[in-house]
């Protein structure tokens, strides 16, 4: 395991774990607070992807701005009263199925047999050629994924 891999798995675990808290917590303030580690985890992912400016922006806007906004609105509307109210509707199982199906579809698209290796760095892409119509098609001899 390289350092990058460890960092990725730790960040992914933080993001997903706090994402689950955001989604499931019956206490809205807990949800909003758990949003912060989720967003910071995404910040770490940006840094791994060499987008450090974006990482700074993410902390400044999301963690410092939007979260404060959300916390303010929760305090202005719900107060502590929301704890006694049912927080979820009846479509839990269906929603779980839909969300799982969509996620599975994305995973299949990302990691499917045809997809693997399609986005390897190619010499042409590495030389800094940007966003022509053919940027996203790579493996030689295969049909372009853009078409």
């Amino acid at each position: 395991m390289t350092g990058e891999a460890i960092a990725f798995y730790v960040l992914a675990a933080i993001t997903l774990a706090s994402g689950i808290v955001v989604v499931t917590s019956p206490n809205l303030v807990h949800s909003a607070v758990a949003l912060i580690p989720a967003l910071l985890g995404v910040t770490g992912v940006y840094i791994l992807l060499n987008a450090e400016f974006l990482a700074g922006i993410q902390v400044l806007i999301y963690a410092g701005g939007i979260t404060v906004l959300i916390l303010f609105v929760i305090m202005l509307t719900e107060g502590g009263t929301g704890l006694r109210v049912r927080q979820r509707n009846e479509q839990g199982p269906i929603a779980a199925a839909v969300a799982a199906a969509v996620a599975a579809l994305f995973v299949a698209l990302a990691g499917g047999r045809r997809g693997r290796g399609r986005f390897r760095r190619t010499r042409r892409a590495r030389s800094g050629r940007v966003f022509s119509a053919r940027t996203c098609c790579c493996s030689r001899g295969r049909r372009s994924c853009c078409s």
Binding site: G3, N27, V29, H30, V33, I36, E52, F53, A55, G56, I57, V59, L60, A63, G64, G65, T67, V68, L71, F72, M75, G80
Partner: protein, 329 residues
């Protein structure tokens, strides 16, 4: 890069972190509290603490030891998880600022934890995290004073983040870089306070408000809100909030030194000494201001940021941009 094995780099990072944390805890928090008490005593023709140590110099050490022995009380109505995590977030976010503060220079390069190339943006981002910690503290306590203090504090801090951000942009425009080391190096001959006096004043005012100090300290107005958002925190957790507050105040002063007062530059003395002299001069200004002006009301406070500081900062940015891009290309 790549020559040094990873465990040496990790060791350097760990040692640097420990030095910064204990340094800030001692130099900023403990010495800062002592200075505050001594200077306020001096301004009010009192003596200040005298009993512990020579001339009362060990007063804050005694205070810390006392606070360490105090019981850990969680109010029964509080939201325990949020209540406990807020106390870690506030000092951690304040201390994260010190990563990009260059304190001096040596033969091997500038003395800084890490010279990030988004330095100034990093500073703005980490100090914006404190707001969340304060809101969490206010909410988690389930105390009316604490929640009101937290809300006021958050509104105040977000309002004054904008002028600070505009000033940071003005300075990085002059320096053509976001890196704090580059900004200091640009001031070898001329400090930015000479070319940007308006920015300096805006930054100093906004920084005072950002760290909730008098005359902008209405979130901790003892007569109305007890101790503001940390009313319910006892013992060492109170001390950690103090660490966060003083740490942030010193970080703001250090950033002002870096941006406007030429950082470590100065004749004769070693660079770190120059940095500390400038830092403590600014800290003295903060404390002097505290005992000179009366407290603002909340409407005056927010109005001052939005109706005075931000328009002036915007205008200052435009004028600076004109000189940088058109006149002195």
């Amino acid at each position: 890069m790549g020559v040094t094995p990873w465990y040496l780099e990790a060791l350097r990072a760990v040692v640097g972190t420990i030095i910064i944390f204990s340094g800030v805890a001692v130099v900023a928090a403990m010495l800062g509290v002592l200075l505050e008490r001594k200077i306020s005593g001096w301004i009010q023709s009192r003596i200040g603490p005298t009993h512990v140590g020579p001339r009362g110099l060990l007063q804050t050490v005694a205070d810390t030891i006392k606070l360490l022995q105090k019981e850990y009380i969680v109010p029964q109505n509080a939201d325990a998880v949020i209540f406990a995590s807020a106390v870690v977030i506030v000092p951690l976010a304040a201390l994260l600022d010190y990563v990009v503060v260059p304190v001096g220079t040596t033969r091997w390069g500038p003395l800084i934890f890490r010279d990030l190339n988004i330095g100034v943006l990093y500073f703005a981002a980490t100090s914006s995290l404190i707001v969340v910690g304060i809101l969490m503290a206010g909410w988690g306590s389930n105390n009316k004073y604490a929640l009101l203090g937290g809300l006021r504090s958050a509104a105040q801090m977000v309002s004054y983040e904008i002028p600070i951000g505009l000033v940071l942009i003005t300075i990085s425009l002059l320096a053509g870089s976001l890196s704090t080391v580059t900004i200091v190096n640009m001031q070898t001959h001329l400090w930015f306070i000479v070319s940007q006096p308006v920015s300096f004043l805006i930054f100093l005012t906004a920084a005072t408000a950002e760290v909730n100090r008098a005359p902008f300290d209405l979130v901790e107005a003892e007569s109305e809100l007890v101790a503001g958002y940390f009313s319910e925190y006892t013992g060492m957790r109170f001390a950690l909030f103090q660490l966060g507050e003083y740490g942030e105040m010193f970080a703001m002063a250090a950033l002002a030194v870096t941006l406007f007062l030429g950082g470590w530059h100065g004749p004769g003395l070693p660079s770190v000494v120059w940095f500390l002299i400038k830092l403590y001069a600014l800290i003295f200004v903060f404390m002097w201001v505290r005992w000179t002006y009366p407290r603002f009301r909340i409407d005056q406070l927010l109005g001052f940021s939005w109706k005075v500081l931000i328009p002036v900062a915007l205008l200052n940015l435009v004028v600076t941009a004109y000189f940088v891009t058109v006149v002195h290309r």
